[in-house]
Amino acid sequence: MPEAIRRLQAWAERRLPALTRYKRPESLPITLHRRRVYIVPTAFGVAFTVLLLVMLLGALNYANNAALLLTCMLGSASATSMLVAFRSLHGLRLTTIRQGQAMAGERMVIQLVFAADDHAHASVHADMDGQTETFMAPVRTETWVALNLATTQRGWHPLPRIKLWSNWPLGLFHAWSWIHPDHAVLVWPRPELAGPPPVLQGEHDLRRRLHQGEDIAALRDYRAGDPQRHIAWKHSARHEHLLVKDFEQPEAREEWHLDWRALPPLSPEARIARLARWLGEAEAVGRPTALWLPGEDIALGHGRSHYVHCMNALARLP
């Protein structure tokens, strides 16, 4: 049954574009206006209508005008609630979409920013990709709605269609509107799990030399396999165990000049995954990095924004 309905809907979208034009991508801001808000009764609404009909019939049969009056009031209130349902979507405006950061395979947090210009909108649901987020948009305030987007591969990921719906106020009517923002989010490449460290050319020997005046915090216990020349003999003499001069800390200051061309001949995706891993490792220890990519040359830098810049560049690679 659902399969048949889906096929029918797909056919309708193909054959009757007028019916579905508001499902096509469009640019922001998107305002929900009367032509794109649809309403049907909910299952509860249908059942309630049947109940009202029974009450109407009973009141008419027993010529009970008081009951008839109240049945009319309930029916009228239900009809009015349809207008309220319409109004709970009508005029809502999607102004901006802010994307979070996510690597391929992770869920990316998308922030939809809604504005209510005229009146508050209560109990609005946003459906995207099978998840539902419910929110209330007070009047003349920005409302941020966070949704998670499943990602599969790096690069530009167009946003799926989003259904905004509401059963406000009595749950008798289901008002909905499709929005399809013409907006894509950038998904970062997934780093490879393990691999060699970057082969650094040029001055890396110079850089590996220990800095003078290294304090005791840079010493650690000896582990099997540590080179002999790293043992801090003088300090070890005062301790029970051998101490080793730790090279991790000084290495953090070392700059990595990552270069697309210097990578071993791998497939482009594998190269991207490797670069992503190195960038991640460098970011974790605060190491300055520079990145050369075909079509983009990013100068030496460090910090979160530099990392984001580099990852975005990686993600954008063809």
Binding site: A63, A66, A67, T80, H90, D118, A122, P169
Partner: protein
């Protein structure tokens, strides 16, 4: 990812505390409006169950123990069957519905349960109106709808949260907004001309007139202050001594009890003059098959017929308030020629009762010979001068009730007097019968109608005199004339006037009664007939259901259009700075400087200043003010806004003359 909302099963959303509280409130209201006709122990037990469930969920959470549910449902059904004898019918049905609603609460744990509960509560509230459709009851039920609607509203997630009492306000607003459409539908929904299935029998006994009468029966009735009917007259109000409303005419007497016969044959001939009184009666539900009519009705309204004795008998018992219009003759000769069979019926007395009364009547007959009027006069004198007194608590009477009354107790009220008088007349050979109905009433000047209460119930006699036909004789008037002049209340207290707190109370009640009458006539009495006559002012004399349906559709569409205008109405004046800016844009656009989409205000103003060099200084000032207003503050000072609005209003650019 495409899903069809209509076919999707909503997930089991757990029920929050607030909607549950509101649902409990709804059920409590349902219980309250039904308590009036349920046995008190059942109401109390259900209320206790409701309270216990509310406390249990608040304290511990979760549903009530499942093992309780089935036994409780069985217990409820058992109790209802035991008490009422059946599960079907109005009372047992209502009791069962209310009981099941309370038990439904025990397992209400999801939003869906609460929805079902709220919808069913609406139904149960409505069914309370089958018992009483008075104004107070209707308003109570309407108020009961508020928590039901508030429950449904509270079930929607992400809504403005407010204190419990204020949760009811939006529901009130919704009901108020839907009132015009509801009234339109109420007026125009075509009424059924005949019921589709049987109407319920009123189970409980109502006090009121009944088809038979034995002295002492009216005691309950004469202390009952509820309205029996309201009468508005076209033309002059009949004088108090003429305000006799006939209901039943009683021929049969078995020594104790007078009873009504039935329809008989064709209405007896009545000769009357031109002085007909036309009046409209709004009769409260009585459960009886009689429509009281001013003495003597000459026609019957629709769905009623005139009996041989000129009783107005409806085809169905009066189970709801009924409005009818009649004409009556005040001076008349009813049945001037009495045939022999009727005459014998009018003289029949049970054998072996009341020997002293019979002897007295025989003595009068011997004394006055053929002069029937003299015998009537003698009986009247007997009541007037024989030491009789009017009381609502007379001494009990024995087997020969009339003998006891006439010769020993000497006290009683209308029933005793009319019964004794009629027996005396029959014994003397004058055809006579007892008539019951109402006499008197309170004239409500505010509403221009006569309010007749149950306590105005009365019984009198009619005797047949040659040449005069049936003539009304009210022996009570001989004993206590105030009863006729001032009404039952005055007669009972013996207080013919003066001020008392009771009177103040009575006055207030009579004012309140105007509202009730309006309700009875306007709402309850709005039947097929009145509906069909609805459009008479517009030249349509008989609005048939098709026409009504059409009007309903047109009116409904009108309201839908109004509603849509409301729903799509945008208040653009929300932002005064923007409104002023739009004013400027319009004025500049008329001179050819149209603001482009995505053009910033600064750019726009500069472009406008370039296009209109004469207004350069003014435009630059406007630009600075607007930019400051918009971008310099989080909360711009109000005088800045005032300045900008003033400047925008005053800015009247002129086209340059080149």
């Amino acid at each position: 990812m495409i899903r069809i909302a209509l076919f999707r099963r909503s997930p089991r959303v757990p029920l929050e505390a607030r909607p549950f509280d509101l649902l409990c409130l709804t059920v409590a209201v349902v219980l309250a409006v039904h308590a009036a006709h349920m046995p008190i122990w059942l109401s109390a037990a259900l209320a206790a169950t409701l309270g216990a469930r509310w406390w249990q969920r608040r304290r511990y959470g979760g549903r009530a123990p499942a093992m309780l549910k089935l036994p409780l449902v069985a217990l409820l059904s058992g109790v209802v069957i035991f008490y009422y004898g059946s599960l079907f019918g109005r009372e047992p049905g209502a009791a069962l519905a209310v009981g099941l609603l309370v038990l439904k609460l025990l397992e209400s744990e999801t939003a869906r349960d609460a929805r079902v509960g709220a919808a069913f509560s609406c139904f149960a509230l409505m069914s309370a109106l089958l018992f009483d459709q008075g104004m107070v009851a209707t308003v109570l039920v309407a108020v009961g709808l508020l928590p039901a609607l508030a429950t449904l509203r509270a079930l929607e997630p992400a809504r403005p949260v407010r204190p419990l009492a204020r949760e009811l306000l939006p529901a009130l607003g919704l009901l108020a907004a839907s009132l015009p459409l509801a009234l339109l539908a109420f007026v125009l929904v075509p009424r059924l001309s005949s019921p589709l299935w049987g109407t319920p029998n009123p189970g409980q006994a109502r006090t009121g007139l009944s088809e038979d009468m034995s002295p002492g029966d009216f005691t309950d009735l004469l202390t009952d202050d509820r309205p029996a009917m309201r009468v508005s007259f076209e033309g002059a109000l009949p004088s108090p001594s003429r305000r006799y409303f006939r209901a039943y005419v009683m021929w049969n007497y078995d020594g104790r009890r007078w009873s009504h016969l039935g329809i008989g044959g064709a209405p007896a001939e009545v000769e009357h003059g031109n002085g007909l009184t036309r009046y409209t009666v709004s009769l409260e539900a009585s459960g009886q098959r009689v429509l009281p009519a001013l003495d003597v009705p000459i026609e019957a309204p629709e769905r009623a017929l005139l009996s041989a004795d000129h009783e107005v008998l409806p085809t169905r018992p009066v189970n709801d308030t009924l409005v009818y219009t009649l004409r009556s003759a005040s001076s008349y000769r009813l049945e001037p020629r009495l045939d022999e069979r009727e005459r014998r019926r009018g003289l029949r007395l049970p054998a072996g009762f009341n020997p002293r009364t019979l002897a007295l009547a025989q003595r009068w007959r011997a004394q006055f010979g053929d002069n029937d009027s003299a015998i009537v006069e003698a009986a009247w004198k007997l009541f007037h001068d024989g030491g009789f007194s009017y009381t609502l608590a007379p001494a009990p009477l024995g087997r020969d009730a009339v003998d006891d009354f006439l010769f020993s107790t000497h006290e009683g009220f209308c029933e005793h007097y009319s019964s004794a008088f009629t027996v005396l007349m029959r014994a003397a050979g004058i055809p006579a019968r007892v008539v019951t109905g109402y006499q008197g009433g309170y004239w409500n000047g505010l509403g221009n109608y006569l309010l007749v209460r149950q306590s105005d119930a009365h019984a009198w006699s009619e005797v047949w005199l040659a040449g005069q036909g049936w003539r009304r004789i009210d022996p009570t008037a001989a004993v206590r004339p105030e009863r006729i002049r001032l009404g039952a209340a005055a007669a009972a207290t013996g207080d013919a006037g003066g001020w008392s707190p009771g009177q103040w109370w009575l006055g207030w009640r009579n004012h309140w009664d105007v509202v009730n009458r309006w309700w009875n006539q306007g709402v309850i009495g709005f039947d097929t007939l009145r509906q069909h006559g609805l459009l008479t002012p517009f030249g349509l004399h008989d609005a048939d259901p098709g026409m009504l349906g059409l009007l309903l559709a047109v009116g409904g569409s009108l309201f839908a259009a109004l509603g849509l205008v409301w729903a799509m109405w945008k208040r653009s004046a929300n932002d005064p700075a923007r409104a002023s800016m739009q004013l400027l844009e319009r004025r500049l656009a008329s001179l050819g400087v149209v603001r482009r989409h995505s053009e910033g205000p600064q750019h726009f103003f500069i472009r406008a200043a370039r296009a209109l060099p004469t207004h350069r200084a003014e435009l630059e000032r406007l630009m600075r003010t607007y930019l400051e207003l918009r971008y310099a503050y989080d909360e711009p000072p109000p005088e800045l806004l005032k300045n900008f609005r003033q400047a925008a209003r005053d800015f009247r650019p002129r086209r340059m003359v080149k």
